[in-house]
């Protein structure tokens, strides 16, 4: 496999002033054909490639990335990881992912800086608190750690939070998942890329898919900006651009692409050692190891592929943030960005066959894909390798938009990321 990173390799490379570290992954030119192609070099695509090779022994694989790996939504999220979803199907899928997060750094010999600092979801009214209680009980029935904190407990956990009874957004309580937390998004991409490359898979950057070639109702390959590539199995994990790829293949998906914004503040001393989320006012905040506050916003209200987002969302999010945390009032925001998220009508992912044989889509993760990265890759790899959905993926096929068996996470948990 690869040169293992360890205390010894660190010491050895320190002797040469860290000038001789090997490249973590190659940058190969595409071959003419592969057994399988994965379109999209973000976390989901790389995780899929990783499990294809590791669990199913399929190594004749190329991961095609339009730009550089990890610069799409993998680099544009707020890095929150949790599994406290309401419905059984989603809870089990996200818990599957959370369990992988807990062992991932060791498994791929790369520190993804998964920090289980806990995730709070605030309730600002009686109904919100009832909904949290319902979700906490549902989580417990699914074996997921989840508890309700009182206002006093929330205040103890997060001293900077305005828990006064006359606050603009009074805090009546919160749900708390202690095993939730944050991870380093770049490290996830880089660690997976290194592991995938070591397993013999080609990661091909600056390679945009321009057409999907079919014969007799099944896929035979793709045309790319670096020439045609043949493959009988193609998995697509391109988030906001899923509808564009589906259009190339000649069908439509039940998706809408919206910008989802986030921003970071100037770095400050430690003030917040957990993750605070308020789905009601759409603020999701944690503090990075560098000291910056990482703030997630709600989704823009209309379709866009612009990766910028509109200003009213920034305004609303900052308004809510300073109401919740009055001491953040004088902070300056350093950077703002948007990722394009593909949202399904039920706010649940789609991991599915398509009308084209051999072509599979993993999409619809909407506002909450980052936390699911390793689990999503694992379940999607099963589908690519066997042609059959993984048991955890069965409720998430395209069939549900015909049968009506939606996994409706809109009001429950999936509005957040």
């Amino acid at each position: 496999m690869f040169d293992r990173y360890s205390i010894f390799s660190l010491a050895r490379n320190a002797l040469s002033s860290h000038q001789n570290w090997p490249r973590a992954w190659r940058n190969p030119a595409p071959r003419r054909r592969y057994a399988a192609i994965i379109v999209g070099g973000g976390g989901h695509g790389l995780a899929t490639a990783y499990y294809l090779a590791r669990e199913y022994g399929i190594r004749d694989v190329a991961v095609l990335e339009r730009g550089l790996i990890g610069l799409g939504n993998s680099g544009r999220n707020t890095t929150i990881v949790r599994s406290n979803y309401l419905w059984d199907a989603s809870a089990q899928l996200y818990e599957h992912s959370l369990k992988i997060w807990e062992r991932l750094s060791r498994e791929i010999n790369y520190n993804v800086m998964f920090s289980q600092r806990g995730v709070l979801n605030l309730a600002h009214d009686a109904h919100g608190l009832r909904e949290l209680r319902r979700r906490v009980e549902a989580n417990r029935l699914n074996g997921i750690d989840s508890e309700i904190l009182s206002t006093a407990q929330v205040q103890r956990q997060v001293p900077a939070l305005n828990c006064a009874p006359d606050a603009r957004y009074p805090i009546l309580g919160a749900s708390f998942q202690r095993r939730g937390g944050v991870a380093r998004h770049d490290a996830l991409v880089w660690g997976l890329a290194r592991a995938v490359d070591a397993l013999g898979i080609d990661i091909i950057q600056h390679c945009e898919v321009t057409a999907i070639r079919q014969a007799g109702g099944r896929i035979i390959g793709v045309d790319t900006s670096r020439g045609p590539i043949d493959a009988r199995t193609v998995g697509v994990a391109v988030a906001g651009h899923s509808s564009v790829l589906a259009h190339m293949a000649g069908f439509r998906l039940p998706l809408q692409s919206h910008p989802l914004q986030a921003f970071v503040s100037e770095p400050i001393k430690p003030v917040l050692d957990t993750v605070v989320m308020s789905n009601t006012v759409h603020v999701y905040v944690s503090q990075s190891d560098k000291g910056e506050l990482v703030v997630g916003a709600g989704m823009d209200g209309y379709k866009s592929y612009s990766q910028r987002g509109s200003f009213p969302i920034v305004e609303a999010t900052v308004n809510a943030l300073v109401e919740l945390f009055p001491s953040f009032r004088r902070l300056k925001m350093l950077r703002q960005w948007a990722g394009i998220v593909d949202v399904a009508p039920d706010a649940s992912p789609i991991i599915s066959r398509t009308p084209v044989g051999g072509l599979y889509f993993n999409c619809g993760w909407g506002t909450g894909g980052f936390k699911a990265t390793p689990g999503s890759g694992h379940v999607f790899a099963h589908l690519l390798a066997t042609g059959e959905p993984h048991p955890l993926g069965e409720p998430f096929t395209l069939d549900r938009f015909v049968t009506g068996a939606l996994v409706d996470e809109h009001g429950a948990a999936a509005v957040a990321h």
């Binding site: 809408q256 692409s257 209200g301 209309y302 866009s304 612009s306 009213p312 593909d342 009508p345 938009f401």
Partner: protein, 94 residues
């Protein structure tokens, strides 16, 4: 921030409006005659184009009237607005 030209009130900030999703989706006249696939297609399948798209918008905090907008989802430019029920303007019309 979009500046949306309401056909009745003139250009106003996007915060006054609500987007109602893709335009020109016709409600089936006899839903009971449709099979599940056709009904699912009406309910859920959308074009979600990268580029020009036709949408319904309503001036929620204004005249509260609906109209159609032809917008580019990459540049965010609003190409034209037109009446509900009218044919979408073709490329080059704007």
């Amino acid at each position: 921030m979009l500046l949306i030209p309401c056909p009745w009130c003139g250009p106003r900030d996007e915060t006054e409006f609500t987007c109602g999703g893709e335009a020109h989706i016709v409600t089936p006249r006899a839903p009971e005659d449709l099979d599940d696939e056709a009904w699912g297609e009406f309910l859920y399948l959308r074009t979600n184009p990268k580029g020009r798209c036709a949408e319904r918008w309503v001036h929620t905090h204004g005249c509260r009237r609906w109209f159609n907008v032809l917008r580019d989802t990459v540049t965010e430019r609003i190409l034209t607005v037109y009446e509900v029920g009218a044919r979408p303007p073709q490329a080059g019309d704007d």
